[in-house]
Symmetry: D2
Subunit: 427 residues, 4 copies
């Protein structure tokens, strides 16, 4: 472009470039894997990497290409094979059997991706696209990027060879920051506060509408709970004391034989942690990760504190910059925290933070019309909210109002916790 007035990039170019960047990042994640790594499913909750590659493409094809009159499916049978849970769209290949799909091959799935990418690029260039749906598709793809890394970690952890996805790098963010700061508290007087997304930028339906909640005075810890702290809980018998646990949590401990976070292993007295860089001695100053809600809750009780409510967390995070250890850094493991200054540190990135808030609709929430109404609303039971994003989340995917959610017993996501406490004299 010749030197001239500042080039205002047309909207369609911005969109296309963003679409392509996100799509490319998905393919980058799988590029260093063998086709074999991409086809296997290690548990019903996880999906094969190849399935993610196809499903994210299916999403764009189904919601943006299929409504158009000239639409011809890439392969008609993909409509069922790669539908995750959209009853409005139709039948679905059973979730626990995603791992038997050795066909279509990864190569063919990549062709599927490129075919849809070309069609999409045409539509975007021609400004013939429903932009809000495109944006949901992009955000959806980012969620699946995180799922790919979670699912792959679970798969590799199940293999006795404990393969590494990438080389391991020690977790300090920079020299001199190898030790986690001491525990401190950031206080808030509470009161009637606003919760929820104001609009403008993208937000999922479950972040709306803005509404008011009344909070009592509270404080949040300056940083995430560390492996060192959690190890004390383990070594002081936290997993043997039923009075520390919710009843359902204690049942889970007994039935599943939990004795430590997922991916911890004790060998000859020493503790190791399996990471996307393979298994290594547990780094004590790194935030603890891969906890169930029950473990996070039991640890908080043992500490004499509690989990934050989601409104408390959001109120505290509302005006902080969305910066931290995200997937963009490529570290793929939580990092030692730094001093927090005026505000709590590590609010974004590193690990998703369990809150003590069940995942339910905000007052005034409305399920969107059509198939996308199935995106979030139907999951509003029997799950808990997590906040902040993790080291496998894209920085551009999260924000203070973002509500992630998992079941109380789940542990394969990058989940940790931050402590909270009441300020009015009793905890």
């Amino acid at each position: 472009m010749p030197d001239s007035a500042p080039a205002v990039q047309p909207r369609s170019e911005v969109l296309l470039s963003r679409y392509r960047a996100v799509r490319a990042f998905t393919e980058k994640i799988q590029a260093q894997l063998t086709a074999e790594d991409c086809v296997v499913q290690s548990m019903p909750e996880a999906s094969p990497v190849k399935w993610h590659l196809a499903h994210t493409t299916w999403f764009f094809e189904t919601f943006l290409l299929e409504p158009r009159p000239e639409f011809r499916p890439f392969a008609p049978e993909f409509r069922v094979l790669f539908n995750s849970y959209y009853n409005t769209v139709g039948d679905q290949h059973p979730r626990p059997e995603r791992g038997i799909l050795t066909r279509p091959t990864r190569e063919r799935v990549l062709s599927y991706r490129h075919h849809v990418d070309e069609k999409l690029a045409d539509l975007i260039r021609n400004e013939a696209i429903a932009e809000p749906v495109l944006e949901v598709g992009i955000q959806h793809e980012q969620q699946h990027q995180e799922l790919m890394l979670m699912d792959l970690k679970h798969l590799f952890s199940s293999n006795p060879l404990l393969p590494a996805y990438q080389p391991y790098v020690k977790s300090a963010p920079h020299p001199g920051a190898e030790v986690a700061p001491g525990l401190q508290w950031h206080e808030s007087p509470g009161g009637l506060v606003e919760v929820g997304h104001h609009g403008g930028e993208f937000g999922f339906d479950n972040e709306f509408p803005v509404h008011q909640e009344f909070l009592r005075p509270f404080a949040l810890a300056n940083r995430l709970v560390t492996n060192r702290e959690y190890l004390s809980f383990v070594e002081e018998g936290g997993y043997e004391q039923p009075d520390l646990w919710l009843s359902a949590g204690w049942d889970a401990v007994q039935e599943s034989g939990w004795r430590a976070p997922l991916y911890w292993a004790q060998k000859d007295g020493e503790w190791f942690e399996f990471t996307l860089g393979g298994e290594h001695p547990l780094e004590l100053d790194v935030p603890v990760c891969h906890l169930s809600y029950y473990e996070a809750d039991a640890f908080a009780r043992w500490s004499g504190y509690r989990l934050p409510r989601e409104a408390e967390w959001e109120h505290m995070a509302r005006h902080l910059p969305v910066q931290g250890n995200f997937v963009d850094q490529g570290h793929l493991h939580p990092r030692v925290g730094t001093e927090s200054g005026d505000h709590p540190a590590q609010m974004f990135g590193d690990v998703w933070e369990w809150t003590g808030s069940p995942y339910v609709a905000y007052p005034g929430y409305r399920v969107p019309d059509g198939a996308l109404g199935e995106y979030n609303g139907k999951f509003m039971s029997d799950q808990w909210v997590l906040r902040g994003g993790a080291c496998v989340t894209s920085a551009s995917h999260t924000r203070a109002t973002y509500r992630n959610f998992f079941k109380a017993h789940e542990r394969w996501m990058f989940s940790g916790l931050r402590l909270a406490r009441d300020l009015d004299g009793h905890e």
Copy 2:
């Protein structure tokens, strides 16, 4: 009593009389059953009537007699046999095996009751009792009276002979009231409201502390949802439309083959309902009963409304008298509602009303010390709050702040629903 100055009954007499009345009512419930009826367990969640007879006695023995120096157990092995879930007390006979305890016989369990009653009476008369614990024991026994009737209903419903516990009486509360009133709405502007128990009268730990919540303008229906309304949902395909259901609810429908509320059966095209008076044609104006949370939620969505939040319900009920169709009436089945006047009707009694609120601790909640800390706190996950009491609840056992809770898929309690809606232009 000859005419004289009003006799002020001493506190100990009041207590003793209340204790004896509640204990006697428990025995009355089982008196019309055979010993065989009392020993069997029809599912892991339910317990045999005999076990309830013993466990409620164990509660008084363990928490009031055992701490005393002169204590001698009635039978040392009962300490484990009849402990429900108090890890602080010690081991427990496994819950799913409560039904294999043909020994001790019912007769011996009744002796156990009378033995403990005598010891308790002495303590109460001598004012040597921890009154708050006694009160918990009495409330606890009332909860188990309700459980006895729930569990018995489930047991009898599982028997192809469909035996009746008592004669069946049609459900209209009085002549001329055979038809449920039309649906109307009682509005509230919401705002910052108080929720929770103010103390004074008895309340469970989970009702404390009083705190503030901010509510948007809302309305509650004037009465409970009826069988007629729910039957429309059934007949218009409510159980076949996944978009009406939470995802976990739809899974439950598929896996459990639900097609109607528990205890409904269709025979030759006609609908019947099993009651404690046996199986009878479905009475259409009676409140619907024995719904899971998922069904209540799906029905509300199908109706275009929603479930109340527990704070909304409590705010509306706060100043209403605790009157309704309780176990004291002996009807043991919900009854047709009456006109509501200035306030919603049927807020107390008939059926427990599902709310859209997960069961979690109130802000500032503290778990009580000691074994009684296990009473409520450890169940604060994966359950939902129900309000108001049912036709198998004692009138003296419930109140506006009372929080009952069950899992989303459970149906054997007397659970129904009342509709709610937002008042700010969108539902």
Copy 3:
């Protein structure tokens, strides 16, 4: 009876008297139990005593009364409730739910028994009965007498109070016989031998027809394996050595956590055995009882011997008198063996002896016509033959050709073993 001409009892009187004696014995078994003991089912394989009382009556009603034109059912719904597995008759109440039938009460089931007994007595007296079916009914009732005691033992063993059905008596058959004889062998040259029932006396269909089998020279032990011998196997690590076990047996050991026979328990280093007389220190000279096929097989392998084949056992037992420790003695537990003389001892009574023969049809076997064809034939897969009868079997119910059968993992019947070996130089 004064000395006189030998009174020839008419056939109908003989039959009636036998019918009544067997029916009375059934009621005697349950007479010392409470109604509560009789209603509960402790596992799907076992049935409540009350169910046995009713089902045996149903058998006579269905197969002898129902075919008659004047037949009126005692209670029409019993046709399904108390049908065990006769698809030819029609539907069946599900087996695992036999224990929820608190109604009909035991009292009513006893009325049912007496009602059918009167009808049957009339038919027998009037010689209007199908005698072979009557005989099957009587034999069937004797089988259920044994099942009642097996099932009751399992029920009582599941109760932490470990109740006793009757007083405990030490197991030596008479003073001076407290010690089991040493292991000796009774040899047979084998060859072409006859196997199966010759007719005349009653035999079940599965004992027919007589046919020839070729046996190699073999020997059977002079007595049953004792607790002392089995305890050596336990203490020398028999349950920890996979090479001693069939693959499916080793799986069962791992999954079920078997470490000793059913009903053995080790407390403070001492071994106890639960019996119908309650729990008592293990008597070492008594035959071991309540073994699975897998355990019997592993013990035999560990001993350097093997289990007998059923043809070997029958060949050796063919001409022995059917005498031993049967239910008629009332001991209800195996007894110390005595010297064997010319023939192996304890071939009848004490415990059923596992053979190494799967339960399949004899060559030329024909399934009987009609519903009684379901009695034995359809179970001829996935089970193993046991021989000889046990201390809970009627002496008049067993014989050398009798084929009992159970699944390889089952242990609640009174099952033990006798060792066998080849005589041709290699085991």
Copy 4:
């Protein structure tokens, strides 16, 4: 080689050539598959193709290389990863998790194969090999070739795309032989016959020793049961009539929803069969395949006949040439039978024939010493014998005395049946 005196190939060359041919055939099977096809496990009973590639190599490495002083493992962790069930060797990677082993890659497993092949070749050439163990290893590899094709067929059948392993060819053996011959009988007078392997050529331990069995006069059908015959059974309600089934078989029908053989599907009224050539209309004259024991037994009962005993089958097959439709033909599906002449046809190849004989030890059987004792003996319970080999079996791997065995409910092996009947006047 120049023309000269007949070259006597040295024994080591014969062995090496045989070893190499069998090993090469294994690799040929997988050569037309993607790496993705080779890693996935479609059910716990099946294994991934890659696992078979490795395990067969592990077998040679463990039993032939490891005992040698100079042994260095190719990869020490393979010792556990690729051990199937040899407790004597040590721990095993859990069978249901064989499918999560994306590493080692197929490429590395092929390197493992070639590494071991070189070592083996050296040993064979130097005549430093335990030839009987080498022979077991070769036979073992042939068994796994068959398993690879069975497991692959199951995997592909589970994929909604129904991929084909190779092109489909209609099943007639040659033009003019498209129709199965009519049912005829080949008779035998029975009597005292020899059963078992005489030694000389290779045989598995379970084929020994030769012993005598006494057979009644019997007849075997001239050919295998066809799809046409089995379809009549299906269409005439065979799967709805409990009286045709063993009790355990009827349970399996109910629980598994069987309505036809595995791999049959009815679409718009037409029947299809899934084959290694994809899904095609059912060829009615082809032998029925993929039956459980229960189905084979029910079909035989419905036909008025029965399954052969294994001694009958072996007696009839003893002097027949081992010729038929084997894997060597490459058809990989049973073929229409031809006229039988003096002897029954299709005794070898096409499908394994269920016998009515449970799989137990022959009289005088001895378990081999050492780890290879685990090869067959520990599976001698709860399985049934099949005879004759199938279209996925190597011709050089089977013989008249060969005893294959599967559980009664299993269906993914190539299993069918031949009818038998008694000759003594009844059946």
